[in-house]
Assembly symmetry: C2
Homo-oligomer: 220 residues x 2
């Protein structure tokens, strides 16, 4: 019984890992579509998005099977519940990559980003993809020590996000309100994407230890 549980739980975490790899790829392509005003890439992200939605349903089904079939004990239940919450986080990351692709498509053939902020988005995109890669790793290893080090890993993203506002507020911003609105929304999408990646780390800590990161750190 216990072995069957472990096996199915590993299968669930593996689907979650693949999902987060997929939303990492989506954000990578969406960022390129945005920076290069590449309509074809933007369309690809938009049409590939269904894959994430389908995998979400698959992951939730696996989690329900785990619950219903294995009559899990308390600690296992917490892990399974985390599984459902992880699906939501990853789904949301996919939706945010989709938003980026849609902005790129809406403005095509024009570039969305004035040159002076393009570099910020290149870096935010790189960070987003890196965070997704880290999230995938800890989902698969369930290494909570590793997860603890990732919990504040969105600081660099937050810094970039703040700088972005400084650039727009500058008197020398000459791209008007329309570009500022796009940049504001896009900045928010990347920031939220990073938030969700970091929440994955928190949930893995809980899944692996039955404690929140704060409870763990208080105890140490």
């Amino acid at each position: 019984m216990r072995d069957a549980y472990q096996e199915q739980m590993t299968a669930l975490n593996s689907v979650l890992g693949e999902m987060v790899a997929e939303v990492g790829r989506e954000m990578e392509l969406a960022t390129r579509a945005l920076l290069e005003a590449d309509l074809e890439l933007a369309e690809k992200v938009i049409s590939d998005h269904d894959t994430v939605t389908e995998r979400s349903v698959e992951a939730e089904d696996l989690a329900f099977q785990l619950m219903a079939l294995q009559a899990p004990v308390a600690g296992d239940l917490r892990s399974i519940v985390s599984g459902f919450q992880l699906v939501s986080e990853i789904d949301r990351m996919g939706a945010l990559a989709l938003h980026v692709a849609k902005v790129a498509r809406r403005r095509h053939p024009a570039k969305v980003l004035p040159d002076e902020v393009a570099g910020y988005f290149e870096e935010m995109g790189r960070l987003a993809v890196e965070l997704a890669g880290n999230a995938r790793r800890i989902l698969e290893t369930q290494d909570y020590q590793d997860a603890l080090t990732l919990m504040d890993d969105d600081d660099a993203m937050d810094d970039l996000h703040r700088h972005l506002f400084t650039v727009m507020m500058d008197r020398e911003w000459e791209h008007g309100v329309s570009a500022a609105v796009d940049v504001t929304l896009l900045g928010r999408y990347y920031e939220r994407y990073a938030d969700h990646a970091v929440l994955i780390a928190r949930r893995v800590v809980f899944q692996a230890t039955g404690k929140t990161p704060e409870q763990l750190l208080d105890a140490s």
Copy 2:
């Protein structure tokens, strides 16, 4: 056993109902703080926010107890899992109300909103509070027919949100980039708040029937 389950499930839904009432109040006060540049109100929303966080922990504990103690059957498990997901939705609504209050505080004593968009936010605030009220009602009644009618209830919010962009893109917008950035972010907060309220309706449909709204509508 079954009676105990029903009783605890009712208790859980009642806590969720109170939570959504609380985040409705928070959005109401945050909107007033925003429109009237009322620092005291903004501070109140910010300090009251801990209540929502505390109730979330309470609600999750109740859901874990339900799972662990009642050895629930498959349909009940789905309801309990929905309970966890509902906590996340409501938490997020609270966080968005908090964001609104923080913008009001950051700009105090200045008003954040130029006069020509204040009316939009008054209406978006009214809608947000109404949606939270509806979400509370269906959480407490578990009336899935009622929930189905609420599923697209954020159309009015989406319309307002779109109009807001039209106002900012107008050549006659003379409030500069800084105001446009604030208005863009605030618009997004209200829109997302409404999204979450509508997701509550979807989850109640699932909780009450074991089917997604689409599955239900296909079958009818």
